[in-house]
């Protein structure tokens, strides 16, 4: 399965396929997406009904399709954990404000989790397979797995797969109150040094056009994807990693780079640190959540990063990577976990 094109809106300057030269620094526990001028991608008449997350998702999808040169994909599959929070918040607030009467339809219509996939389908006049996965920390991986199955069963030749999640003022306040995020001034560029509880809130919209046939301009080959839920301990995680690599006939020595989902939370990062002593020992390991923040579909950002690194043969300059800089990156393993519950492994290699 080949990653033919990408589209990514994130808290970094990732949209427009420009090289990621400098990491954008944020102070505080919330990273917000850098949004493009949507009028270049979406009809102004349609923009007016779209909330921020819908615009982000649709624009990232359009950029991905443009790069692939595909007008109508064989399938559209999205993954989101939170869904369209802004519209949901607006709809619920109006229910309270107007005593469950006089509800405007737009927020309700746009508040469902499949809104973005549906909007993309409507814009493209695409009546093909269209599905949305809402599987918390596995939402992106489930969407991708569905795409893989469609391609393997030859039900589709190309599939648009994406992950979208937003953080709103309300959700940030609630999640902050629950203790998910760091307190006090913190720079996203320093989160791994803090060794304190909590991470930084993030968001993003990343889309991929995946196909079962290679093309001359592919980013990377997706060799494998695996998810596991609530492992009992580090031993089980190590076994899952070993078994995943074995299944794909790869040893840890064959991996040029490991991308982990370290997020700066001292408790959650313990897993990565323990693996650094064992399975990942002496391997080149980088983290990415200082760039995009933590959110349930952040693994899509990691996949974008891996795809870009493999296509160019090197990591974006914004990562300040000083490892084996002279060695071309041909194979990357992504290991991510969300709150220690949802764990995923992805294996990408050069085409």
């Amino acid at each position: 399965m080949y990653i033919r094109a990408t589209g990514n809106i994130s808290p970094q300057k990732t949209f427009g396929h420009q090289p990621l030269v400098d990491a954008v620094a944020y102070t505080g526990n919330r990273l917000a997406c850098i949004e493009p001028d949507y009028k270049d991608f979406i009809d102004p008449k349609q923009i007016r009904r779209m909330s921020r997350i819908i615009r982000m998702g649709v624009a990232a999808a359009m950029e991905c399709l443009q790069e692939a040169g595909v007008k109508v994909p064989d399938a559209i599959i999205t993954g989101t954990a939170y869904g369209c929070l802004e519209d949901t918040n607006s709809f619920l607030s109006k229910m309270v404000e107007f005593n469950e009467e006089l509800l405007t339809p737009t927020s309700f219509i746009q508040s469902t989790h499949n809104t973005i996939g549906a909007q993309i389908g409507l814009m493209l006049q695409c009546n093909n397979y269209n599905n949305a996965f809402v599987h918390r920390g596995f939402s992106f991986e489930s969407a991708l797995l569905d795409g893989i199955m469609l391609l393997k069963e030859n039900d589709a030749a190309n599939v648009l797969v994406g992950a979208i999640d937003e953080i709103t003022n309300t959700s940030h306040t609630i999640l902050n109150r629950l203790g998910l995020y760091k307190q006090g001034p913190v720079s996203n560029l320093d989160i791994y040094k803090t060794k304190t509880k909590g991470t930084i809130a993030g968001e993003g919209a990343a889309f991929f056009l995946v196909a079962n046939e290679p093309s001359a301009t592919d980013y990377a080959k997706l060799d494998g994807l695996h998810t596991f839920y609530k492992p009992e301990g580090i031993d089980e995680i190590e076994k899952q990693i070993a078994s995943f690599l074995e299944k794909h006939l790869v040893s840890i020595a064959d991996i040029d780079l490991i991308i982990t989902g370290k997020n700066g939370d001292a408790g959650e990062d313990k897993i990565y640190e323990q693996l650094g002593q064992t399975v990942f020992n002496a391997k080149e390991v980088i983290n990415y959540k200082h760039l995009c923040g933590e959110y349930p579909t952040a693994a899509a950002f990691a996949m974008w990063l891996a795809a870009v690194a493999i296509k160019s043969g090197e990591l974006p300059a914004a990562l300040n990577y000083t490892g084996s800089a002279d060695k071309k990156i041909n194979r990357i393993l992504i290991y991510n976990h969300y709150q220690g519950i949802h764990h995923s492994l992805s294996l990408l290699s050069a085409c």
Partner: protein
């Protein structure tokens, strides 16, 4: 009618549209302002929220929401009845 146009723009989030861009007798739907059925529901809510007017007969919709002027006339007539 200028106030009503401002309310319509706000309710429907008609970005880059100013009240003076909407003609008093310009058709609101299809070839005019290009509104659709979801907008019609939003306009019904606008009448209820702003003017406490409930569109009792759905068949009146096309006539009432034809233009800004027909909407204004409908509002004026109902406000006179309620006064």
């Amino acid at each position: 009618m200028s106030d009503l146009k401002t309310q319509i723009i706000a309710q429907l989030n008609l970005q880059d549209t100013k009240p003076e861009d909407i003609g008093d007798d310009q058709s609101l739907f299809v070839e005019g302002l290009g509104l659709d059925s979801i907008d019609a529901l939003e306009l019904i809510v606008l009448l209820q929220q702003q003017y406490k007017i409930k569109l009792s007969n759905a068949e009146d919709g096309p006539k009432v929401f034809k233009t800004v002027r027909t909407m204004a006339e409908y509002i004026t007539a109902h406000q006179a009845q309620n006064a």
